[in-house]
Symmetry: C2
Subunit: 314 residues, 2 copies
């Protein structure tokens, strides 16, 4: 079999939690993602030929061990269930920084299942790939968290509470709203960050946060952008994680001053996102970057429409 037997899939980065929906709401991001190429080989099992960095060089931190990579683990789950008994060889091209809060592990898992799906005689519809991608994500995050996997897979804004898995709900994305995602040059380990969170919350906090999320979901359906902004707040988890990202408070203030509808950590950080009206997006991004630079962190940012496409075969 030759290299042109490869099927290559792109899976976008994503914003987990989206502030208001801890562990259950996510949004796909345009212009940055991971790619996985997959082809059938004679020897049974899944192997990784290479994991590459964004420049196409061997990745300095990720090994080629198929038992230790979210892409190969997710690919194996799908191929063992529905494959033809042959083997699969993968090439993983990381476009998303590690431990960035941008859904890096999820995007690799998603790109892998979408590429392997293209090798099946009867490929599944994208939503039916969720449970296989989640097997890879579980290896990275330690639990069944779909808020990065789901938007990376199907695009846009996705509600995916654990209690409803493997079902998820694609939310309507109001016209006229963009996301800004800024990645400062810091790393936060999500699994470690999760261990530091409180195990119990007050009933008042529960009702406040639940009210905000329910309001956010309704505001999306009703295209009520003012209400969407009022609801875009995290009263429970953000206060517990904000101190781990030194530029967060200033970037958030700057985003609001530049007209953002809301601003919070992306996943467990260090990336920071804001939602804003389309016309404000470049100002919001510039203000967030400036706040970050003032604290001497390099950063990069991306502006995306809410209705950003999910993973696809290239």
């Amino acid at each position: 079999m030759a290299d042109n037997d490869f099927k290559t899939a792109f899976a976008p980065a994503s914003i987990g939690n989206l502030g208001v929906g801890f562990d259950m709401l996510g949004l796909a991001i345009a212009g940055v993602g991971d790619r996985v190429s997959a082809r059938k080989v004679d020897n049974a099992g899944i192997v990784i030929r290479e994991v590459q960095d964004p420049d196409g060089n061997p990745h300095p931190f990720l090994s080629n061990d198929a038992a230790e990579n979210t892409a190969s683990i997710a690919a194996a789950a799908l191929w063992e269930a529905l494959g033809d008994g042959s083997g699969v060889e993968l090439i993983v091209r990381k476009g998303i920084p590690l431990q960035s809060g941008m859904g890096s592990s999820a995007a690799s898992a998603v790109a892998a299942v979408v590429a392997v799906n293209a090798l099946l005689n009867m490929p599944l519809a994208a939503p039916d790939l969720l449970e296989y991608a989640l097997v890879g994500e579980k290896f990275a995050s330690g639990g069944l968290f779909a808020d990065n996997v789901a938007p990376s897979l199907v695009g846009g804004l996705v509600l995916c509470p654990r209690v409803l898995l493997p079902d998820m709900i694609q939310l309507p994305a109001p016209d006229g709203v963009s996301s800004v995602l800024m990645h400062p040059e810091l790393q936060v380990n999500t699994a470690e960050s999760r261990k530091g969170l409180a195990r119990n919350i007050s009933v008042d906090k529960w009702l406040t946060q639940q009210g905000l999320l329910a309001g956010f979901v309704a505001a999306c359906s009703q295209e009520d952008i003012d209400m969407l902004g009022r609801c875009l707040r995290d009263e429970i988890v953000e206060p517990q994680r904000a101190n781990a990202v030194p530029c967060f408070a200033d970037a958030k203030s700057a985003a609001h001053a530049a007209g953002a509808l809301g601003c919070s950590l992306s996943g467990s950080g260090p990336s920071i996102f804001a939602l804003c009206r389309d016309a404000d997006a470049s100002n919001v991004a510039a203000a967030m970057e400036q706040a970050c630079h003032k604290m001497h962190y390099d950063c990069e940012s991306w502006i995306s429409p809410l209705a950003t496409p999910g993973a696809h075969v290239e």
Copy 2:
């Protein structure tokens, strides 16, 4: 001034919490409610001429003291803000049983503000009356809980988290779904019931219940009746209150066996509600009543479309 100067408003009973949305989701009920008649009088202030029972007789338990009735307290809040300085006389006709979990105090407060609104030179739109009706409800319940007041005021299915008040969000009501509300001959004091609830919950419970409510709201917008049914559960409050209503467990089992999408306590009980497809409604109601009768409680039930109208001047 003569009796024909009276403006009379009807406000429907309602299901508070609707199981999945403790303190923030409610549904109006057809065929049962309170009426308040209001007319202007010369002497400033609000007075109650009479509180009547469903048969038009003086109510055996409610006094005419305007400082002690949700209707007059709500009416006073509106009239003191926007009235012309004259007085108002009220007649309150209770159609809803007390301490029934059917939003009795809320309906009186709503009927009062809607009747008094009709006396204003520039009446407010219904949603703008919410904050005044809440003043009356707060007297009865001890807090700012809008999940009975809001649906009684504007009808249908309403999301009204405290964090968004005085704003509320009217949710689309999927076609083909009915509510069944059954009132067993028991009383539960809501304020007392609230005191018995746990003050803290686990993060797991929070995320489960929040996921269910967010899913319910999305399912309403997408008219996904199966998803609506999957989300119609209360994992936190119902288990703490179920024992106070001896017929609850059997009525719930009977409702599910008869095809209900979901079943829980209405408010703090003792009333029990189910949502179901229209075609199943009479079977569900009969099954719930039978379960109640087996335990030797009298009961009464009402079947309503989700899109039941709210309060109005008659």
